[in-house]
Amino acid sequence: MNSADMAPRRSWFTVACVLSAVALALSACTGATRKADSATSTTLTFGEQQAPPSLNPGSIDVGFVDFTMLSYEPLFYQNPDGTVGPALAESWKYAGEGNKQLDVVLRGGVTFSDGDPVDADAVIASLEYSRDSQGNQSHLLAGATFVKTGDTTFSIKLATPDPVLPTILTQAYGIGQIISPKGLAKPADLTLANATHGAGPYVFDPAQSVSGDHYTYTANPAYYARDRQHYRKVVIRIIQNQQAAVNAAQTGQLDVFKGDYSFAAQARSAGLQVVANPAIMNGLNLIDRDGTIAEPLADLRVRQAINYAIDRDAVTKALLGEYGTATQQTVVEGADGYSAKLADRYPYDPAKAKQLLAEAGYPDGFELPVLAAVFAGFKDMGEAIAGQLAQVGIVLKVDTMTDLPSYIDNSTNGKYPAVVFGYPSYPIYLQGKDLFLPGSKSFNGFGTADAKLDALWAKAAAAPDTERAALDVQIEEYLVENAWYAPVSYTPVMYFARTTVSGVATSVGAPFASPTDWSAA
């Protein structure tokens, strides 16, 4: 006899409670088994890390061109191998000498998705808008004028020579993507709330999009080159968390995404294609070369000592494994300006570095404030360089910014003599404009001016292709010899793609892949 018979019976109730709790937890799992729904050839879904502020190709940052190139057909098309081919422009050539006038012939019979015809007037209006839009590439067209020479022909007249103008007007840069007259009538409406006004293969559909999460484009029925329109629908998803992106690709939710090295091994073992092109130079930008706030940097021997003190191979391997390459130059091997002669100008040699420092009057080293940021791997690069330089007595005080605006402000406000930075292996002409000429403020914060360098650059800009190559090498050699920078590694732009997608490719000349090239395998 025990109390169970007499005491209230509770067992059934307990069992019911447990069962309902367990059932609830499991009900989640009893849902219909999910098919790993492989991307159909009708839809392409790819992942990006940052959301764009607008879809206005004339003013958007170059980092967001993937979002606009789907809708806005460019004047010229940059192929995955870096060569420039036709798009809205059928043919083109520099007129005369000095790279100051480009004559363009447009393809006939092409219309924008909103119905406007693509003619010389429309294209000129778009280029003028981009020149004047105060966008962050507008300066590349500064001083340019456009002269209509026929319904489908016009000339671009430049104030200063530009040998790579066709490249600048490809889909890889926003300013070359052409906006229709209807769109230009109200540029303030070129936002994420409205359909796009381009002549590209797809049209943005705001109704199927959520800002900051996903952006949907549908095929443009009026597109002139149907063979280059590979999908019925393209969706860009914003996925900041790389692990989430890998998971999504692994389960078929993403076809392609741009990622970083830390997930390469996982992506590869998950059966994804890994397309990696080490094309972005990372390292230390010694911007206070005149010694305005950090006197030691004015001494060439100090800048060279810094270059000798960094074990580039070790740092590159530690940070990027097999996907990075060590460098001492601002351009990759095979690109304009690469100098084979200076490939190993600064071998790792701490003793030599110490000797140079001693000669410059800093036998015990010195302290150097350095600006870094949490993004783009700058933090790790900064810490790695700090670890290297500490061994020759140079103590880096690395301040790490968390957001882009603070990083940019501090790169240019004269507070930091050196900055951890990254810059793609662009043509030397563009490097001049953005990186080393006095006017290129973002990467030349103290506005270092060097008459010899400026003259070399101007000469190369106006030179025909045949002569320019040699001049570019001279420029690069000048930069290396004078140790304006302490480049460390080329970090890869990495694309992870499912095997169902083909055409994801990059090259020395085109470090970034264009989604318009991708198609179903």
């Binding site: 509770r10 940052d61 105060q134």
Partner: protein, 312 residues
């Protein structure tokens, strides 16, 4: 009951004013500026200045707050300075995902927590200890870690649920459910821990009260004693805990939204803060405050319904 609603409403207005003012001032203190974050890396100072003027960001703070407030009172939360979209649209786009996530997690936490809590209170022994262990682990295991485990198990290894993303209910109810399962489990299971604990303590306390003995002595069937009397009396503190869970989840969604790439308000809050998008931050802060206040009101109403001492 109406008194409770009125009293809450009277508090609501100063709270909303206070919260909007605090966020406005705090957001203004954030270094860097909106124009720079819109224009990007290569913009010149002139461009930045021009845009700053165009956006009216150079006006004094009280003027900007005043005009924001005036518009907000007319139901206009302004436009995002980052995307140029109406803030209300961005919020509407993202509200359903966050609400689905939180509602699902609260429902799971409530049912699972209450079920486990009741079972362990009635059974004790290993079940009681199991609830203790689950509660302890629920508090100790970092959420993202749990999320990664869930994704690896139920999305990658066993492709039962999508690894990322959110399907709106209107697109596909089944897809909506499937897309919510893993994030809801991530948020809901740890949240069930305090609910289970409170339920168990509450039920045990109530079971020890004299009226339970009296009811049994009166021949009231055990089922009724538990369901009608004990649970009702143990419910009030559980409801309070659920309310706290909702408030905690409002913060917790940031993480789940990041790992599962769910377009919700938490992620919007993070990116708006990074982009200095003050109108958006303002609107989210106000909306979150409203949600918290509505939840508090609901708790109080449920309390009043359950507890006659509050009502009478």
């Amino acid at each position: 009951m109406i008194r409770i609603v009125l009293r809450r409403l009277a508090v609501a207005i100063p709270v909303l004013l206070l919260v909007s003012l605090i966020t406005f001032v705090l957001a203004d203190l954030v270094p860097g500026d909106a124009a720079r974050s819109i224009l990007g890396a290569n913009a010149t100072d002139a461009q930045v200045t021009a845009l700053t003027e165009q956006l009216g960001l150079n006006r004094p703070l009280p003027v900007r707050y005043g005009s924001w407030l005036a518009a907000a009172l007319h139901g206009d939360l302004g436009t995002s300075i980052f995307t140029g979209e109406p803030v209300s649209r961005a919020m509407l786009d993202r509200f359903p995902a966050t609400v689905s996530l939180i509602a699902g997690a609260v429902l799971l936490a409530g049912l699972l927590g209450a079920g486990l809590g009741i079972a362990s209170a009635l059974r004790g022994g290993w079940l009681g200890r199991a609830v203790d262990v689950i509660a302890l682990l629920g508090m100790a295991v970092p959420g993202f870690w749990f999320a990664l485990v869930l994704v690896t198990l139920f999305a990658v290894r066993l492709p039962l649920f999508p690894a990322t993303g959110y399907t709106p209910f209107t697109d596909s109810p089944v897809g909506w459910f499937e897309s919510l399962v893993l994030p809801v489990l991530t948020l809901g299971i740890p949240a069930a821990a305090p609910v289970a604990k409170q339920t168990r303590d509450g039920v045990l306390t109530e079971l020890g009260r004299p009226y339970v003995h009296v009811l049994r002595a009166r021949g009231v069937p055990e089922r009724l004693v538990i369901l009608k009397h004990v649970l009702r009396n143990a419910a009030a503190p559980v409801v309070t805990v659920l309310g706290i869970v909702v408030v905690v989840l409002l913060g917790g969604t940031v993480l789940a939204e990041s790992v599962f790439v769910v377009p919700g308000l938490g992620g919007l809050a993070v990116s708006a803060t990074a982009a200095h998008d003050i109108p958006t931050i303002q609107a989210i802060a106000v909306l979150f405050t409203v949600i918290v206040m509505v939840v508090n009101l609901l708790i109080e109403m449920v309390y009043a319904m359950v507890n006659p001492k509050v009502r009478t």
